[in-house]
């Protein structure tokens, strides 16, 4: 299935909140200062059968780039390549690496559209058209979300004082050929898996060591608990919102059924049914928007902070590992001094470890403070917007019900 999203993604289906149309979704989950020296956004996106092509658009006054404004086309794998290059770079060990955007997943939506096509014979033309419109809207919504998530990743990198200068990042932004980053093969995926296993085993080991520094001790305790609870909240918000969507879908079908009843005849009762059917049509559109807004402001927020808190945890693990290295180097130095052998070597090694540990600790502290600031700001923004949207929709519903009841009671 091909779907094309043109400039600014303006022509959204009417069930997405007005906010998301035309306004860059960049600010949704993170509160970033826009900086004239480097601005990145995804200006266009194309969905083809099994991949999505993002047009990454850059505006910059930095001398590093050949032009002030340029665009390239990137696919999901290239974003992952960039993210992984940050993770693997020792110099960035002391930073929270912006979490990688999740893979675009249209499988469920595509399956539904396929099922609809197969079941075309068993429903009326109106029902089919209606369902098709809904599924297409759903597809479009998923599409917009994946664009937003890829954009947020780039913006976080661009806003980071150190990462924005990364060479790979500049290549990613500017090099207008394919980066030839093929997807990881099975062997590489296995390697990754084991790397993660070792990391978490490490983490468990290291988490047991009580930190001398109160700040980090507190952060460790906090992040471990927070991450788990965000994970839980995220999963449960998804389930809740799905039920909400299901209920809205039912109301849609009820509206159609009432319409059929209403068109059987022209009695008073039939006119009544038609009016109620009309009401339910409008009401369910609002309910669908409520579910969509809850998804954006609450579920997506939780998902994002699930990933960010993991990235923060990763930073703590890296720091802990460097602490272990430092402590080992100290022990090695003591041993060397005791044996009076390879002392200089041990001293150099120890100094390197010390330096690395201190560097990481310093930047980690700032990163974690920034993380908290960002988190609080993002939650504030989204919770306020959530409440405002809930109110807006409820008032809309209320008005519809009041006016419809007025008409229905007046006629009886």
């Amino acid at each position: 299935m091909r779907s094309c999203c043109q400039e600014g993604l303006d022509d959204g289906p009417d069930f997405l909140s007005e906010e998301d149309r035309g306004v860059s979704p960049r600010a949704v989950n993170v509160d970033l200062q826009t900086d004239a020296t480097l601005q990145v956004d995804i200006s266009d996106a194309l969905s083809e059968r099994d991949k999505v092509k993002f047009t990454v658009h850059t505006k910059s006054t930095l001398p590093n780039f050949k032009q002030n404004e340029f665009s390239v086309v990137r696919q999901h794998e290239e974003f992952i390549w960039l993210h992984d290059s940050f993770v693997e770079n020792e110099d960035y060990a002391g930073y929270i690496i912006p979490p990688a955007p999740p893979r675009p997943d249209f499988d469920a939506s595509r399956e539904k559209l396929q099922k609809l096509g197969e079941g075309e014979g068993s429903m009326t033309k109106e029902e089919f058209t209606k369902m098709k419109q809904e599924l297409e809207a759903e597809y479009l919504a998923i599409f917009k979300k994946t664009v937003a998530m890829h954009e947020v990743f780039l913006c976080r990198v661009a806003a980071h004082p150190v990462l924005r200068k990364d060479l790979n990042f500049h290549v990613f932004l500017e090099y207008n050929q394919d980066l030839s980053v093929r997807g990881k093969n099975k062997k590489e995926k296995l390697e990754d898996f084991f790397k993660n296993v070792v990391k978490s085993a490490d983490g468990v080991l290291v988490a047991g060591v009580k930190d001398v520094d109160d700040f980090f001790e507190h952060e460790k305790t906090f992040l471990l608990e927070y991450h788990n609870r965000v994970k839980d909240a995220s999963a449960k918000s998804d389930r809740m919102i799905r039920s909400h969507k299901n209920a809205a879908d039912d109301i849609n079908r009820i509206a159609s059924s009432l319409y059929t009843l209403g068109t059987q005849d022209s009695t008073d009762l039939c006119k009544f049914f038609l009016k109620v059917s009309e009401l339910f049509e409008k009401t369910r559109k609002i309910e669908a928007r409520v579910a969509a807004d809850e998804d954006l402001k609450l579920a997506d927020l939780l998902k994002y902070y699930l990933r960010e808190s993991q990235a923060a945890k990763d930073l703590l693990y890296r720091r802990s590992r460097s602490l272990v290295d430092y402590e080992n180097a100290n022990k090695a130095l003591d041993k060397a001094r005791a044996k009076n052998r390879d002392v200089l070597q041990a001293e150099t090694s120890q100094q390197l470890c010390c330096h690395k540990f201190e560097k990481i600790s310093e930047s980690a502290k700032q990163e974690l403070i920034d993380f908290k600031t960002r988190r609080v700001a993002a939650f504030r923004k989204n919770l306020v917007e959530l409440a405002e949207l809930e109110l807006k929709h409820a008032k809309g519903n209320l008005q519809l019900l009041q006016s419809c009841l007025g008409v229905l009671k007046g006629n009886t």
């Binding site: 906090f222 608990e225 927070y226 609870r229 965000v230 839980d232 909240a233 449960k236 918000s237 389930r239 809740m240 799905r242 039920s243 909400h244 299901n246 209920a247 039912d250 109301i251 079908r253 009820i254 059924s257 009432l258 059929t260 009843l261 059987q264 009695t267 008073d268 009762l269 009544f272 109620v276 009401l279 009401t283 908290k372 988190r375 609080v376 939650f379 504030r380 919770l383 306020v384 959530l386 409440a387 405002e388 809930e390 109110l391 409820a394 008032k395 519903n397 209320l398 019900l401 009041q402 419809c404 009841l405 229905l408 009671k409 009886t412």
Partner: protein, 381 residues
């Protein structure tokens, strides 16, 4: 048509309410001068309601009346109640049964002919009723079987009825269509009820997880806001639960009632056909008797002739009677259908309005919850 004029003067003041259904049902009503007193209470068992229905069916349906059917038997539901289980589904079942019995009685007493029926009066007034037997036939499946048996008899008729007036045929078709539509709608509303209950459960679970998240959060203002959000979601769960109850008790049960009532209406159309069939059969029997008489005349058997003449007279009377019955049933059916349609329109309108009003109140409360939350969210710093 003067039938419609007759409808206008029907207005009643009988109120029936059913309360406390815990194996025994008691109700009270305020009523017309024909009853002993203005308000009284009697205790009835569920089987008594079924017994009443059976008595009415036997008598009244022959005349073409639409007898409201009572709620169906439910072995599972009743067993739970008898065992004394206190879970929400048992409570719901009891309430459902109570409301359905109440509606059933209200329909019976709002029917002008049924209200006059001595069995109905006895049901409403008599202190102790003899235990109703043979109510086996009246479970959901049994009721359907009864209706279908009547249809089968009609289908087996060899002589096709020649309707001079297509009113009956058209109406019957309409009824069948409508029943089908209502069944479809009923299934959709049932789906909605289930999804709302699911939403209810998921919201409660989500509220708890938000409360936990709020506890973890180390920024004080955000922590408080998250706890407040958890409380809002708790209140939303309450709202969803009430909405689901409204979906079910007001909307879904309305549809279930009318699906059964339309079934009853189909039954009375079939009764008319049987009356016609009886008349036709009598006519053909009369014809045979006349032929027999002619044969006897020719064969010159005077002793048997008198008997033949007597039989002819008897069957002539029957033919006249059955023709009259058929016409009367036809008229009753027309009148009943008109009355039913009026009742149905009134019922649907009032119930759906009630349903929408419940939705409206729900939205109003929702607004209050979020309005209380908004300043908390804004206070995050």
């Amino acid at each position: 048509l003067q039938l419609e004029e007759d409808e206008a003067k029907d207005s009643f003041d009988v109120d029936v309410a059913v309360t406390n259904p815990e194996k025994v049902v008691q109700f009270k009503d305020t009523s017309l001068p024909m009853f002993r007193s203005k308000a009284f209470t009697v205790r009835r068992r569920y089987s008594d309601f079924l017994g009443l229905y059976e008595k009415l069916s036997v008598k009244q349906s022959l005349l073409g009346c639409i007898i409201p059917p009572p709620p169906e038997k439910s072995v599972v539901g009743m067993t739970k109640v008898k065992v004394g289980m206190d879970d929400p589904s048992s409570v719901e079942f009891v309430e459902r049964r109570r409301a359905a019995l109440e509606r059933y009685l209200q329909r019976v007493v709002s029917h002008p002919s049924l209200l006059q029926d001595p069995d109905v009066r006895e049901f409403l007034e008599r202190e102790e009723l003899p235990r109703a037997v043979s109510t086996q036939a009246l479970s959901g499946a049994g009721f359907l079987k009864m209706i279908n048996k009547a249809s089968d008899a009609v289908n087996k008729m060899t002589i096709k009825m020649n309707e001079s007036d297509t009113w009956f045929e058209d109406k019957f078709q309409e009824v069948e269509n409508e029943e089908q539509q209502l069944r479809k709608l009923h299934a959709l509303v049932d789906s909605l009820v289930n999804h709302r209950k699911e939403l209810c459960g998921n919201t409660a679970v989500f509220a708890k997880s938000m409360a936990m998240l709020g506890n973890s959060e180390d920024n004080t203002a955000l922590s408080r806001a998250l706890s407040q959000l958890a409380e809002v979601e708790d209140k939303m769960e309450q709202l969803h639960q009430e909405q689901a109850a409204s979906d079910f008790f007001i909307f879904e049960e309305l549809l279930a009632d009318y699906i059964r009532l339309l079934g009853a209406m189909r039954g009375c159309f079939d009764q008319r056909m049987r009356a016609w069939q009886r008349w036709q059969e009598a006519q053909s029997t009369l014809q045979k008797k006349r032929e027999a008489e002619a044969k006897l005349l020719w064969a010159n058997k005077p002793d048997k002739l008198q008997q033949a003449k007597d039989e002819i007279t008897e069957w002539e009377a029957r033919v006249t009677q059955y023709e009259r019955d058929f016409d009367r049933v036809g008229m009753t059916v027309r009148k009943e259908v008109l009355r039913f349609e009026k009742e149905k329109a009134k019922d649907f309108k009032s119930q759906i309005i009630k349903y929408l009003e419940a939705m409206l109140q729900s939205q109003q409360r929702l607004i209050k919850f979020w309005e209380a939350f908004l300043p908390e969210a804004k206070a995050i710093a």
